[in-house]
Symmetry: C2
Subunit: 242 residues, 2 copies
């Protein structure tokens, strides 16, 4: 999961680096999620869908590969997402719609209660499942090209959201640096152990600066990061239903 914001910070050079990193990850056989959180009205969403999710189709870029999936923001409603869904379907790619984010004040809007008794996040979840269940988007695994972002920090809400979106893979941020723990994320998975991609960024990327690893590997930053990855995988494995 590559967060484009940290590349946009370096303007056009950063965007070049973002695509370079996608190429490198692709050559390494990895599935790449472009974490770009785009969303806009239909005509603009078409532009974002082409820019962020489609394979680059310009003469000087034709050898570039785009990410396999991206994150998108649901505030505009369906016509803001439709162009992304169209590209995902055509190019066999994926979307993760923000449903319940992992940040401290996410609850302000996302857990506000609607008259129907649902929270805003549950309202979005119901729409996401409706779109995701479209048979032309569901693969042989039973999961759709449309998934959902559900933060590990939303402890109390995860089980409900998992039940509401049976066709959606969950992209689960907020583990590690943001405070989510293994016991929080068990409910993101289905009983068969599938259904969630748990991500860790800062706790792995900055492991070279974490005393736990520095004490063991001193300045060998690659080893710090490798060990942080192993620790992360072990923690998540522990949380997955057997």
């Amino acid at each position: 999961k590559i967060n484009i914001a940290f590349f946009e910070r370096y303007y056009a050079d950063g965007l070049d680096a973002y695509f370079d990193l996608i190429q490198e990850a692709d050559r390494a056989g990895l599935i790449v999620i472009g974490d770009c959180k785009r969303g806009d009205i239909g005509s603009t969403a078409e532009m974002y869908a082409s820019a962020m999710l489609a394979e680059p189709d310009f003469a000087n870029l034709e050898d570039l590969t785009g990410p396999d999936a991206i994150t998108v923001n649901p505030y505009f409603g369906l016509d803001g997402l439709q162009p992304f869904i169209d590209v995902a379907r055509e190019e066999q790619k994926g979307l993760f719609v923000l449903v319940r984010t992992s940040n401290p004040s996410a609850a302000e809007l996302q857990t506000a209660k609607l008259e129907s008794g649902m929270t805003v996040a549950e309202f979005v979840a119901r729409q996401v499942e409706n779109w995701a269940a479209d048979p032309t988007l569901v693969g042989h695994s039973g999961y759709s090209a449309i998934g959902a972002v559900v933060g590990a920090t939303a402890r109390e809400e995860i089980a409900t959201l998992r039940a509401m979106m049976p066709h959606c893979l969950f992209l689960v941020p907020g583990f590690g640096a943001q405070g989510g723990t293994a016991s929080d994320i068990g409910a993101c998975f289905k009983p068969d152990g599938t259904g969630a991609l748990v991500t860790a960024s800062r706790s792995v990327i900055y492991a070279f600066d974490d005393m736990k690893y520095v004490e063991r590997f001193t300045s060998e930053w690659e080893k710090c990061i490798e060990q942080a990855c192993k620790d992360f995988v072990a923690e998540v494995r522990n949380a997955v239903p057997k």
Copy 2:
């Protein structure tokens, strides 16, 4: 108002062109709004705020000027917006928070009713006004560095949102190509005629393709666009309270 999506479509070259256009608009003495609709969790929002709103501060970019204001998405709540607010305050720039967008399915989420009787858009409006009213953000005009996006197509809701956000300039899209008319936008202004920036994009940019102008100016596209601008200004002037 420059919509970055139409530039990102051309990858790094597009981003260069986006900043080139900002420089040109700045040289022409125009106030520039970067329509980028960013939003993310705090640490990432900091990166977006630096990339999208701050003055570029890298050695090879130090002569570049950034936009004077940008649009931001409220789905993450306050900590997603705080870094943008911080940059706006420090650099004397502005924000327009998406409150009620102009697209056809905006109502799905934005007009869903909360238990409190407010719609989601009104709930966001209340928060935006709370942030906007901070005295360190309000200028001598009485308006804050934090404004709100309120679409011209939200006929029934504009007056309520105007009353809820007295410190906010409104950025009003949806006029013209999207169907908003002069009679819809009057309520975006305060009785003294201030308080709203009405935008038109497609109805002006594509005037060279509009029979109304082509019949008059044939292939002189500059004249088509100039006339479309004049017509737009006259229509808006007509809608502003005297």
